[in-house]
Symmetry: C2
Subunit: 259 residues, 2 copies
């Protein structure tokens, strides 16, 4: 089983939490791909460089200057810091941006209706490159910078990158099973958003329909679960939604989404 | 024959020259590794971030903040820009920092007599990782950031990185021949520094002794040639000193240094 695990800003921006997570991640058995964001670092560097960060509907508008910053931050400092810590923890890791070996080829998003600038929607994954590294014992650490195949780098949402990689690996001839894990602030899908202990351990299609109908799953969680089922429709075995703290060598908690 | 080609700031800092070089480089036949610096970009970003660049004897002092900047610039924007342009030009390329798969393991330089901060002297190259990529048709693009194997990134001179990679590849069981090419501002070793056309096409040990005795080779060129002979002593077939403009698919000019 290949694990594709995505961590976001709440871990990347916190050195202690990141160290703790990477120590646990380093000791997870089997082939694995770690996808990271790095949002707050990019915002801080942009600010220091006098580049204004513009967000529309929670997404970063990537002009030419911002593209340079996110490339420096995601593919540079964040990716290499993670890779370096994993290697020091005994987990042989190689970092890839979507430009390396055209790992993730994207299409630049249309400027209509909203012009997000240099933002790309993934179209193709070089699964052979990932398999080459995984097959030789390397863990892949993927930065959410992609490319258009014509010489332009593009900024891509890290959740989308993780999902795209997981689906492509599941569809490649080599892999039997792929598990996709999204780490976020909460410990899973909660029955009661006020109660951190009300984690729903398993959601399948029929329970999802019920949770949705009763309004237990709503707002930001709804697209997360819809995407999880899309991944499953496309061949991913199961999707886990949990917090990074729950990833341990003894397995992880959170909510498992299955067919 | 494996080619290890190093380009410096005069190319990296000039988008037109870089584009022209990469188009030619993309079409060079055979396995190849490109090593790049990126000095002026790092200095500019440091300045914009309010970090003072301190140089001692032409070498950058790398404090913790400067280490972040050079990691962002070398392993981030410069490396990914080059990789992306090569892929677009039809040359499948993957970028590696010295931290990726512990490609280049360094020892942090002693703070005595001069404290250069987070600067490393290479000790070991993961030639297997390079061979894995080269053997599968990828060109390797190496950024001069190395690691100490204990979780600390280090800044290493790009000429040193190129020489270290070339020697390690020459000494690995896989390679028969390795050629090391240093691109710099001049078109080769000049008989008369004022005359760009006075290139000495070939230097061997006996002609080097003569050139040195007569004072034709002196100053900055002396350590370059001494290092070239060290590389040859360590198994590199020949070393070329030329300008990036001389690298064409029809071969390259400049000065060839041989045993």
């Amino acid at each position: 089983m290949l694990k594709v695990i995505k961590i976001g800003g709440n871990i990347v921006d916190n050195p202690e939490k990141l160290d703790r997570f990477l120590t646990d991640f380093a000791h997870l058995s089997g082939p694995k791909i770690l996808v990271h964001g790095g949002g707050k670092v990019a915002t801080a560097i942009s600010k220091a460089l006098g580049i204004e960060t513009q967000m529309i509907e929670g997404r970063r508008v990537t002009d030419a200057e911002t593209l340079k910053v996110v490339t420096m931050v995601y593919a540079g400092i964040v990716n290499k810091t993670i890779v370096n810590k994993l290697n020091a923890a005994g987990c042989k890791a190689v970092g890839l941006s979507g430009a390396d070996g055209e790992f993730i080829l994207s299409e630049r998003r249309s400027p209509v209706p909203i012009d997000y600038g240099f933002v790309g929607d993934p179209r193709r994954v070089n699964t052979r490159l990932a398999e080459l590294l995984l097959g030789n014992g390397y863990t892949v650490v993927a930065a959410p910078i992609t490319c258009d195949g014509k010489g332009t780098l593009l900024n891509t949402n890290a959740d989308t990158v993780a999902q795209t990689i997981a689906v492509a690996m599941a569809q490649s001839a080599v892999r039997e099973k792929v598990e996709l894990v999204f780490c976020f602030e909460k410990r899973g899908v909660l029955r009661d958003v006020e109660d951190e202990n009300s984690i729903i351990p398993m959601i399948d299609r029929s329970s999802f329909a019920q949770l949705r109908e009763k309004g237990i799953v709503a707002d930001g969680m709804l697209p997360k679960l819809e995407n999880a089922f899309k991944a499953i429709d496309s061949g991913v075995s199961n999707v886990v939604i949990c917090s990074a703290e729950q990833i341990t060598t003894e397995g992880y908690g959170g909510t498992t989404i299955r067919d």
